[in-house]
């Protein structure tokens, strides 16, 4: 039995980014996530939210819901919208481009989401897209104290 998820639901607009961010980072910090994981959560949250905001509702505006939970050393971030069905994990991860002329502007967001998190899952239920991203917490075992003899 883990903690129940805590959620925030706001309009799918760029003006909601900051409120989502302080909600998620506030929870994550309260649960003791270390700075290194907080930065990954920060990045992944932006990438996923900006995609929902930019692409989920081509005609008019809907809502986006963000949930977070901590369960057995896994921080889980779930972003849901009721926009058009889209599975970002079905996209083939682009081969790394190192030639500036060939590099396409854009298309790096989902790649970063994968690279910066430990688990990813997409579900479409009824009219809802649900992208769930897991971050494994570093082992909390305290280091053995140095001997003092």
């Amino acid at each position: 039995m883990g903690r129940r998820a805590e959620t925030l639901c706001l309009p799918a607009g760029m003006e909601s980014l900051e409120a989502f961010r302080s909600f998620v980072l506030g929870r994550a910090a309260a649960w003791g996530l270390p700075e290194s994981v907080l930065q990954k959560v920060d990045l992944v949250l932006e990438e996923v939210l900006v995609n929902s905001i930019s692409y989920a509702y081509p005609e008019g505006r809907g809502q986006v819901e963000v949930a977070c939970s901590l369960d057995q050393g896994l921080f889980r971030l779930t972003v849901s919208d009721r926009g058009r069905a889209f599975d970002p994990l079905a996209r083939k991860d682009p081969a790394p481009v190192t030639d500036l002329d060939k590099a396409a502007v854009g298309g790096l967001g989902i790649h970063l989401v994968r690279a910066m998190s430990d688990e990813q899952a997409y579900r479409r239920t009824k009219d809802k897209n649900e992208l769930s991203i897991g971050f494994r917490l570093p082992d909390q075992t305290p280091p053995t104290p140095p001997r003092t003899t």
Binding site: Q39, L43, V97, D99, L108, H111
Partner: protein, 109 residues
């Protein structure tokens, strides 16, 4: 995000501080475009004060780099740290662009 453009040993140094995210990245692109319009072809971007970058930031950098290349010049970066370094690595930007540990090394090159 804070952007400061200065000349050091005759070369343009763009120092970026704070967060380069979906909201602020366009400011980076605009600031650099203004320098290119003024005739600058080569740019050293000092990321020592940058704490955060997302794909929107990478996108702004990439289009700036393409502009500079089209103008016959180029872009190089220095002083990456923390998550910015990590994002440059996993995105392939570290292989695509010259990266220096510190500004003085970038200036020597």
């Amino acid at each position: 995000m804070e952007l400061k453009c200065t000349k050091d040993s005759g070369r343009l140094v763009v120092a970026v501080k704070g967060r380069m995210d979906a909201v602020t990245a366009p400011d980076f692109e605009k600031g650099c475009a203004a320098e290119i319009d003024r005739g600058e072809k080569d740019m050293i971007v000092d990321l020592g004060g940058l704490e955060y970058i997302s794909s929107a930031g990478l996108r702004a950098i990439l289009s700036t780099a393409k502009r500079l290349k089209a103008a016959g010049g180029g872009i190089r970066f220095c002083s990456l740290k923390g998550m910015v370094q990590e994002v440059f690595t996993v995105s392939g930007f570290s292989s695509m662009f010259p990266i220096h540990d510190a500004l003085d090394e970038a200036l020597k090159d």
